[in-house]
């Protein structure tokens, strides 16, 4: 049995992995296909002899200034496939504010009459998208800098190690505050860069550790004796070993970035359509707790699932931990 097959078997057997993967899929799928879950306009419609797909995206000018009722009326006589909820995250529903759960609004509406499910789904897109891009940027930065530091060594290595330590312990919220002071309107990319500016350090540390550990290993010496270039040795022989710790760190990263995004938006430093903003709506005296509770539930599911999976993967790849159970008895 190869090492990978062993890991795969352990992963598949783990309850936490299965549970986490299921829950994460339940969050990621609606986030990816948010337009199928909640939108003002139908997903596609057969109208005047032509098929219109995603009219809200393809022809946004057509619907400028139309109320949801107008849009409904417009497609009434056509063959149309509507999303689950017929209102977007910013649309005020005809049912008015604080509508109870019903067929049109599965989770009801908030104080301004916006559909809660729609807001949750688009919030998931914001949170997960931010996490994805921030982690990707930090991955690229971290692998590059970590590999360079591990290979070059000497004073550069020392400097990067110290820098990584400081960046890792630097409070992320301060970076976000500084970036927000510069860009009064929070843009998606400014937040992505702010978060990546702190998160790359962890990846760099992990990658560097592997590079330093393995650069004197026998198989690396053998590869060098065979005439492999440094880049090839790094790419084919050393970096694959860093894959596992980096994957674990990325999964923990999903949890922490989603949480950070919620906190930052809660403080009013983040993006508009976010779970943090929904939570913050419960702060006003006498405000209904609905948005807070639903956003909190969404956070628990997302963060909890990511954390559980990361934890399980972490254990399953560590042979020492994985074989201890019988010994303890």
């Amino acid at each position: 049995m190869t090492h990978w097959a062993w890991i795969r078997r352990r992963l598949a057997r783990s309850l936490r992995i299965r549970f986490g993967a299921l829950v994460l899929t339940l969050v990621v799928l609606p986030a990816l296909f948010a337009e199928f879950v909640a939108a003002d306009a139908p997903v596609f419609a057969y109208r005047a002899g032509a098929v219109v797909v995603f009219p809200a995206i393809v022809q946004p000018a057509d619907q400028q200034g139309m109320s949801p009722a107008d849009i409904s009326a417009r497609y009434e006589h056509d063959v149309a496939w509507w999303p689950l909820v017929r209102s977007g995250p910013d649309t005020e529903s005809a049912m008015g504010p604080l509508a109870p759960m019903c067929r049109a609004h599965p989770l009801g509406t908030d104080e301004l009459g916006r559909d809660l499910l729609a807001r949750l789904v688009y919030g998931a897109r914001t949170a997960l998208g931010l996490a994805l891009f921030a982690l990707l940027v930090s991955l690229v930065l971290g692998v590059l800098l970590g590999a360079i530091a591990g290979q070059v060594g000497g004073i550069w290595d020392e400097m990067l190690t110290r820098q990584v330590e400081i960046v890792e312990t630097f409070p992320c919220i301060v970076v976000v505050a500084v970036v927000r002071a510069v860009y009064p309107e929070a843009t998606y990319w400014s937040l992505v860069l702010a978060i990546a500016a702190v998160r790359w350090a962890e990846v760099a540390r992990l990658v560097r550790a592997e590079v330093v550990r393995l650069s004197h290993a026998d198989f690396v010496a053998a590869a060098r004796a065979l005439g492999c270039s440094r880049i090839r040795i790094l790419r084919r022989h050393i970096l694959p070993h860093a894959f596992r710790p980096v994957v674990v760190s990325m999964m923990f990263g999903v949890a922490s970035v989603v949480l950070l995004e919620a906190s930052v938006s809660f403080l009013g430093l983040g993006l508009e359509g976010s779970w943090g903003v929904m939570i913050a709506e419960g702060l006003a005296p006498g405000a209904p707790l609905g948005p807070t509770l639903w956003a909190g539930l969404a956070l628990v599911l997302t963060v909890g699932a990511a954390y559980l999976m990361a934890d399980a993967v972490n254990e399953s790849v560590d042979a020492r931990v994985a074989t201890t159970r019988r010994v303890r008895r």
């Binding site: 630097f170 409070p171 301060v174 510069v182 906190s263 809660f266 939570i279 956070l299 963060v303 972490n314």
Partner: protein
Amino acid sequence: MLRHALRRLLWVFPSVVGVSLISFFVLSQIPAFGHDALGDQVGHLEGDLEAHRRSRFLDLPLFFNLRARDLQARVVAARDVIALGKPGSEAMERGPDELARLGGAALPEILPTLDDLSPALQVRLTLALAPVAERMGLKHDGEPSDPAQVVHFWQRFWEAWGVEFRDSTARSSVRRYARYGTDARAKELRTLDTFALPALMEALQVPGHAGEVAAARRIVDLIVHVTERRDAIRVGATVAEARACVERWQRWWLVYEADYLRLAGAARVAAFALETRYGKWVFETVVLRLGRDAKGRPLLDELIASSQVTVTILLLGIALAYLFAVPLGTVSALFRSRGVDRTICALVLLPYALSPAAVGLLALHVGAISSGSGWGAAVLLGLVLVADPTHQQRAELVPVLAEDYVRAAIARGAGPLRVLFVHGLRNAMLPVVTRAALELPVALTACFVLEHVFALSGLGQATLEAVRLHDTSWLMALSVTAAAVAVVSLVISDVSYSLLDPRLRHALMQRSRRRA
């Protein structure tokens, strides 16, 4: 060991400088004239855009200034304006105004070389000095404003007084004036006009007690007279008022120092770095105790006052979290993969995943914790933070319990408690507990959120306010402090780990001995 700690601690400086450079660069991208509390204030006080720009150092380059504008450059510029400007034009007004502002300090630049200029320019230039003569209190019969006599008047003045326009003279007169405050000295210094400003500013001390107020007021009075900028210490002012006034003047001097000094030699080289926005910021930070925030309050006092709440919450919360995390993680590791373990993991994970915002809000709504309660915030912070150390404790202990020496201990007949405490926890607890120091900066986000929920006026609220007002100085101070705290907590974590772990201590000792 001490040497190791000190060497690590030395990294505070490069990292603080690095962080400050980066944040300064980022913050300098703030559009200069937005909604800006400082702008409103200063604009009100001095009434013009130029002064505001200068007071925020926007006329200076960011990091390098190869052509620092000193006294000489300004005098030459003013002379050129007077020489080239058409009579009656706007530039013609500005040149003499600038010369009058530069005042006595400009005289050594102008009067000795007066003969090299054309007669017409001599007259125009010296006529522009009429307000200076007035300010100096020179005796005259209308000569400074009489085109026929003005050049001769100033030449005579320079013959009589030129010897006095030397740094050492100015400094010794100021020293004597500060000590005795005689009218004769005051008159002498008034004659030196702005030439005495550097010495006056050097002699101006922030009054510490009531006895020093009078000396400060004497000097400030002279400075006010010379600069025609009305901001004197009034008679009978309290120490706090006097101190605020002196600090305002020191800040003013930070902005306008180069106008009254001729940069030469080392000073000119230093000006490459110092006459820049970053250089001025560093100077303000080090000498003027971080300067003032956007509302004009002393920044250091604000920072200390608001960080008290935050630091208390942080320390309490972290202590609480670790107090519970270590036993929970231990129990979890002992009952690995069984019901107890799963329950603990889930319970610990729940508040963490719920995010501090939701946890705080729910606690507020349930009525468990009332608004404004610092203790409540600390408890909730502990609740939110407990997940990570618990998991770490569990992850550390599980492999330790599988070690051969634990098996050997069991085989020798050691009891379960002895195995756990002596063989297990002793090895597994250290890496977890020593990481507690690192939580301080990391837990800051959660702390800000909880402060916001419970309406506590700590660092979080102040920072949100600063972001709204684009308060550069506050954010700079915050990020530099954060970097310093990060380094210090790293050192604490590192050193405590190596102190508590004999193996590491040994390794470290050997390494440092080898190096020596």
